[in-house]
């Protein structure tokens, strides 16, 4: 909760009936960090992230996001965070401009701000010509990048990315990470879940979830030396071998 943590989580837990999806996780995220949230399918990454975004109520535990209490100030938190879901989250039957207008609009941006953002994004993504065509007509890679930019439309302090690069080719993934770095350099905290281990190497710090618990946390180099592994995939395999549950 001090000046140098932007997310602070203590013993956060989520149970669905008798199933404990997230089991007493504790961590802090510093401003401007790219915090990687790793884990196999079903390890509880998405559930943990959904709680931090206010999409799901925790069963127990404490958390502050952007210095605000998750329980008391959920509404205020929303203004300070951006979110990009696993699934593609733009409207395909709207044009790029309309999508930006819409998301800018619901975050309460003024018309001038929306106009500026539209110009900025389209020039960044080199989408100048396509700005008035339907999102449907864009290739997947562009859509994902646009989706990320739209999640950042209101300059949030933290942006949550839930497996943002699923199903995207390696070149686009690289470009996508360039966008993430740009955002982090501007001071935005990036909280990203992924199961691509090469992406884990790009993070400032990663935490690895196994069966709802955080089993390891640290910078990629720390983790590699700790587990005596040659890359992050190796770290992950060594940890995940102990997992009891898998997808479904």
């Amino acid at each position: 909760m001090s000046g140098n943590t932007v997310i602070s989580v203590k013993d956060l837990t989520k149970r669905f009936g008798s199933f404990t999806a997230v089991d007493h996780i504790t961590f802090d995220v510093k401003p401007g960090e790219i915090f990687g949230f790793l884990g196999a399918n079903g390890a509880g990454k998405t559930t943990a992230m959904r709680m931090l975004c206010g999409l799901s109520l925790p069963t127990a535990g404490k958390a502050t996001v952007a210095g605000l209490d998750l329980y008391l100030d959920a509404e205020k938190i929303k203004q300070k965070i951006g979110y990009m879901s696993q699934r593609f989250s733009l409207y395909e039957d709207l044009t790029i401009r309309e999508n930006i207008r819409f998301y800018g609009g619901i975050y309460g941006l003024s018309n001038q701000q929306i106009k500026d953002k539209t110009a900025e994004m389209t020039s960044n993504l080199k989408l100048g010509k396509e700005v008035d065509s339907l999102v449907k007509s864009l290739p997947l890679g562009w859509r994902q990048k646009l989706s990320f930019s739209v999640a950042m439309v209101h300059d949030p302090r933290i942006v949550f990315l839930d497996e943002p690069t699923g199903g995207v080719d390696p070149i686009t993934r690289r470009e996508f990470w360039t966008l993430i770095y740009e955002a982090a350099n501007k001071g935005t905290t990036v909280f990203v879940t992924t199961h691509y281990m090469d992406e884990a190497e790009y993070c400032s710090r990663v935490s690895i979830m196994v069966d709802g618990r955080i089993d390891a946390m640290g910078s990629p180099s720390e983790l590699k030396s700790k587990f005596d592994a040659y890359d992050m995939a190796d770290v992950f395999l060594k940890l995940a071998r102990g997992a009891k549950r898998s997808d479904n």
Binding site: C53, G54, L55, S56, L57, E75, K78, Q79, I81, G82, Y83, M84, S85, Q86, R87, F88, S89, L90, Y91, D93, L94, E98, R101, F102, Y103, G105, I106, Y107, G108, L134, A151, F160
Partner: protein, 368 residues
């Protein structure tokens, strides 16, 4: 408020961009009214009949002429013997046979009883009964006129008046029904599908992470369909007045207000479905089976509720369309005022409040 406008605008884009669906939604009332008005009808017209005249005298010829002149019958067959009756029915050439006994005219003239046999094809009992009734009334009519000429001292004449719908037009019955059907499809089905689609696409999540109040997201979804329904109500009323000649006897204001109320009821139903349906297909099936079908079967517009078994009669009471149908029929066709439909209006209002409350509550719990 400004955020809300952005939401509404987006919803209009969705409706507007999906041109095919929009055309279907706007064209449906037109189609239904035309189909029910001109193609599907319970009126029995130009039915094929056959005559077996064993008497061949002036009286029988006069009666046959009367039958032919009526717009209900088409004389297609002169049957020569009793044996020919069966094949005529079997082949479907005739639906009704009129058989005159031998010496019919003679017997009648001498004051004896003269018999006419009417044989109907009761594979469709309603049509058979209707035809028999029509034929009997044509014959009675003829007889009455003959007696009047003969200057008999007394005779009983029945005079029939059909109130509210003197020409017995089917349109009077189905216009309110079509209105209920269209609103069910436009409001309930489309709203529920559009909400579920947003959830399926994952965009709902993104909106819920934003500072916007969830209930506004839902309200914004209802507005375009509410407007579409208004257009549909207007087009149905215009069509029924100017194309089908079904007048609006009661207060137009009251009728429109009742339609508005029902639209909101149906929107609430759509919300309710969307709050429980997991996919667009489920939402569609639920609206069709749970809302559209009862509207067609149990609202009284296809089948009279009075004749239903107790169980179905009871069930029909929870079908909102039944009450709407009753109100519209009474206001539009009979010209009754609010004092005659306030109870039904109250029931509809109660249902609306109930459905709204339940669905909003459901919707909220789902988010958690």
């Amino acid at each position: 408020m400004r955020q809300f406008l952005f939401l509404i605008k987006k919803e209009f884009f969705h409706v507007w961009r999906d041109k095919r669906t929009m055309l279907i939604l706007l064209g449906m009332p037109l189609m239904l009214i035309l189909i029910f008005g001109f193609a599907l009808t319970n009126e029995v017209k130009n039915s094929r009949i056959g005559v077996l005249d064993k008497s061949h005298d002036e009286t029988t010829r006069a009666i046959i002429q009367e039958l032919e002149a009526s717009r209900y019958f088409d004389l297609v067959d002169n049957i020569n013997s009793e044996e020919d009756l069966t094949p005529a029915f079997q082949s479907g050439r005739i639906r009704l046979a009129v058989v005159f006994m031998e010496n019919f005219g003679n017997e009648l003239d001498h004051g004896n009883s003269a018999a006419i046999q009417l044989i109907g094809d009761a594979t469709d009992p309603n049509v058979a009964t209707t035809l028999i009734n029509y034929a009997s009334s044509v014959i009675m009519d003829y007889q009455r006129r003959q007696r009047a000429q003969a200057d008999l001292p007394y005779s009983i004449g029945t005079e029939i008046r059909m109130l509210y719908n003197p020409q017995l037009k089917g349109a009077y019955n189905f216009v309110p029904g079509v209105m209920a059907m269209v609103l069910m499809l436009v409001c309930a089905m489309m709203t529920s599908i559009s909400i579920v689609r947003e959830r399926e696409m994952g965009t709902m999540e993104v909106i819920l992470v934003s500072p916007i109040v969830p209930i506004r997201v839902i309200m914004a979804k209802l507005i375009p369909y509410f407007l579409l329904s208004m257009i549909n109500i207007a087009s149905i009323l215009l069509l029924s007045v100017y194309v089908l000649d079904v007048p609006i006897k009661g207060s137009l204001m009251l009728l429109v207000l009742e339609c508005l109320l029902f639209t909101i009821t149906v929107l609430a139903l759509g919300l309710l479905i969307s709050s429980v349906a997991g996919s667009q297909q489920v939402a569609m099936l639920a609206s069709l089976m749970g809302l559209f079908l009862p509207t067609v079967m149990l609202s009284g517009f296809m089948f009279p509720v009075e004749n239903m078994p107790v169980l179905l009669k009871g069930l029909s009471n929870v079908v909102p369309s039944k009450w709407f149908y009753y109100i519209v029929k009474n206001v539009m066709i009979k010209g009754l005022g609010f004092e005659n439909v306030w109870k039904e209006t109250l029931i509809l209002l109660g249902m609306t409040v109930f459905f709204m409350t339940v669905s909003v509550k459901n919707f909220k719990t789902r988010l958690e």
